[in-house]
Symmetry: D2
Subunit: 314 residues, 4 copies
């Protein structure tokens, strides 16, 4: 197996990938963007890609939400949660008031904003390609900034980088959710503690369409654990919704909801069913469990005493 | 074929039965109550029974709504609409001010109430077993009333009855809906202008259950043309709903709704799909038509690239 | 105070009236029909009328539901629950197999049907004007039936009537709900365990109107304890709904729901707020309580820093 | 009046600001970030700030959505739509194959991705602080990249920049929506073609809360023209929704919806009512118009014949 991840080495994404047991004995290589990592899977250059999908502070990772839904070949097979901590690094042990320019990834900068305003209020922010990239940039000949913000892992593997401050994130409980994405994979077995990810375009010609879509979940007792709107790009107000629901496509209520959603929004995409990182079992009202769906189906069959007409397939 | 109907001869129910073409060449006999007529069908003494189900003035015929749902053997196969007109009859041409007692069926009395207050304000009302029964009672030796209210047909077939006033119903557009009920019949073919009748107990332990039930229709674009609540008799507040919907069990959206309803209320009863008396075609939003249901089902099948696991039957 | 009730003396309705403490020291007189009793109140001949509104076996008392909503002058001020028991009476101690004709009110007959099929299967049913009326008919010179079914109270007050069988109702827990109706009365104080009765026409030109109406309750956390559909009489499919909700018009969430209902169905009628007979307090989700409504209103006021424009009244 | 905008000069945001008539005769100055621009307004250094809020390709501008909702002092008073076009610029007329590094703002890069893959597939992307900033960076002594992508306006005002390609955006109809934000301003007059912007936290302890919130709009016939979820930062799955609705706080249905929303989610924020940039009038179902709200309110007042108790304020 070959794995890729949003690189370079030392990013939180690599940390997430290393949390997958099989990875230790496999090959892995960094990609320089989320679309790049996913395209490597599409092209067969990698068997799976680890990419960030959601951050508790910054929200959905839009590059992932958009790129994963580009075609129907990719599916999520696993999710990993990684607590996010940031350190401030430089080439030397300089004092904070001497820092005039700091670089890091935009998302990381957003997560240390309060710290920055208090500790380095006069430093200019220089956008970096990634947290690790910004840190490694300090090791080039004439770095265009004095300090960088990155994951502790990067500092550990590069002793040339001096840690000026630790744990500088504004939110000490920040966590990022990563997903492992493969091409036409086998669907992971249902565990009773699963999630299913969908991309659902909002039909433009149906006022109240969002309510119609949400009712497909609520009438089957399905809980949404994440919902994000993303523009389709066609025009202002043209959306699709990226949604995580509690449940697995092997659950009758989920398949039934998928059919209902497809009627309202035929371009819906199924992006995978996979075990929850936190293993918390899904609560199911008895009227929505397998027995209830089976009984309902069996009952309707009994309503055709002379047999069901041939052209009624289901 | 043997038909029965809510008798005696001359009631509006017989008029409804005679509107069925096959009846002209068949045997028919009156039953003395709605439960009696339906039990005759259950017992095999009749092949079908014509009974009133709904009156535009008096509402649902509760005896029919209750008796038809007693077990799962009976189904509606046809509906007939009969305009309702009433005549006042007596044995002689007496003047209205000489009438001291009038008899008719309770439902009929309710429909001439305004006329009675104006024309015979001092007459006492004597409940009769049926409109025809009250009229024929006038022909017995010592009838305990002076006049009766009945269908024009009764007066026509009994010239001994003198018509004192015609068309005395308060609502000139009154109409009663009758249904032909058979035992485990073949389901009539779908016509595109059909109704389906259901009896749906309201689950007592689910607050909001009525909304849950109605959403099973609304999320599939199904219109309700009639809804009546009836007590189950268990205790105050224990109901079932008698419901007519636009559509046929051969329509995918109806079968899908039946499954959804069964999950919420497993004791739901299917009481028949049959052509509408007015032949008005059902409007179907494209997202709820057969193609849309077929496409949704086909799409979900494509989500199992390695084939659907054996234990997932649908 | 003068009270009227659905007579004659000895009916269950009189029992209900006697359960009202003030009645013992007041004048009371029977009316011969529900509309008659209510019209006596409208005309000022009585200060209040006791009428049945709902039976746990037979359902809503349609005469009451229709007559009470005829205009806007009447309001329910109290509800009384009366357990219903039936006795079989005759002039002499005859044996059951000698009974050929039995009379009682139609509703009562429906409630002893199973008993009758088993104990007097061959007896003919003669409709009576009321349970008490049927019983007292036995005391006339040539009664056209041998036995009658009535309340135990009637037998007790008329020793000439012999009780052949007691407690013959099919449902031993049968109960009838009666309401005391007055003309433009003061609204009874809120107790925290109240009901409000409404008559709500179903707007015909709005598909989905029933769902729209029910959502006015559900979005404010209001529970429906009774819902009955009644024809308006205009045409088949033209309904109004008679509804009881948990709560009092002095509750902010109820007034707010009334406003929402009026927008959807402007001919809605308010038929009274009154204490529940069972004194069971209403459960209120905190988001729907008085504080929550007050806070919401106060918040919107703060949104006008330059003061609210004059033409915005609320 | 002093205006600020997301700078530097030459950004699309400045174009948006210049579309406001009053700006021509006022002072304006750039801010180097969205939070910076909004804080300038909060601090009184500017009377209003123009910031981007939504892009038809990239979606919501999360910095704006988050920063505007930080406290309750800021309100949107105007919206401006600007068509987005991009040009490729360099210091000299070099050929595209010689470009090894390109800089621009991340959002802009996302909008030329398809063009880049086809025309400069091997060029490395260098994140820039803004489109104008990236372009102006080319004019420094040793720019760390060869070309930049920016608005046509920047190229026009800096003839030292050579335009290598025009109109390179992937979506030729791309448009960005900007909003003018002021501190505790007067609410702009209602025009009949208005929007209202809200920030609504999703209550975590209420399953189905999103449906509850959306029903507050749907039961009052209010259309949502934009909905975006944003993390509150507290933990994964903790959201607020940034929402635009059709209507003005001077509309009764909007105030009523605000009250309903406040009950479900008391930390809701009102971020302004303002005229639509496209002047398209809002369609209002008659049951939700001013007359309908007035009539409903007036009707409830009539239900208190003895006058409304003092403690019932509304």
């Amino acid at each position: 197996m070959r794995y890729t991840f949003l690189g370079p080495a030392g990013t939180f994404t690599e940390t997430a990938l290393l949390a997958v047991p099989e990875v230790a004995t496999s090959e892995r290589f960094p990609s320089n963007s989320v679309p790049g990592a996913l395209n490597a899977v599409r092209a067969g250059d990698a068997d799976a890609a680890m990419v960030p999908i959601e951050n508790s502070v910054e929200g959905g990772v839009t590059a992932t939400l958009d790129a994963i839904a580009l075609d129907n070949s990719l599916r999520i097979v696993r999710e990993i949660l990684v607590p996010i901590q940031f350190v401030l690094v430089a080439r030397e042990h300089i004092s904070l008031e001497n820092i005039t320019k700091i670089s890091t990834h935009t998302h990381a900068w957003a997560q240390v904003r309060a710290w920055a305003e208090q500790r380095v209020p006069d430093a200019e922010y220089i956008p970096g390609p990634s947290t690790a990239g910004a840190a490694l940039g300090l090791l080039t000949e004439h770095p265009p900034y004095d300090a960088a913000i990155c994951a502790p892992a990067v500092a550990k593997t590069h002793p040339e980088l001096k840690v000026l401050e630790e744990n500088i994130g504004d939110n000490k409980h920040a966590v990022t959710r990563f997903v492992l994405v493969a091409k036409n994979p086998e669907i992971p077995a249902a565990t009773g503690a699963d999630k299913t990810t969908l991309a659902i375009p909002l039909p433009e010609d149906r006022p109240g369409a969002l309510l119609e879509l949400l009712e497909q979940f609520s009438t089957r007792g399905i809980n949404l654990s994440r919902i994000e709107s993303r523009p389709t790009g066609a025009f202002l107000g043209s959306y699709f919704f990226s949604v995580d629901i509690d449940g697995h496509i092997y659950d009758a209520r989920v398949r039934d909801a998928l059919r209902g959603l497809h009627r309202v929004s035929p371009d819906i995409q199924f992006l995978g069913s996979y075990p929850r990182a936190d293993s918390r079992p899904t609560n199911i009202d008895p009227i929505h469990n397998e027995d209830s769906f089976d009984a309902a189906r069996a009952w309707v069959e009994t309503l055709f005493p002379q047999g069901r007409p041939e052209n009624l397939q289901h």
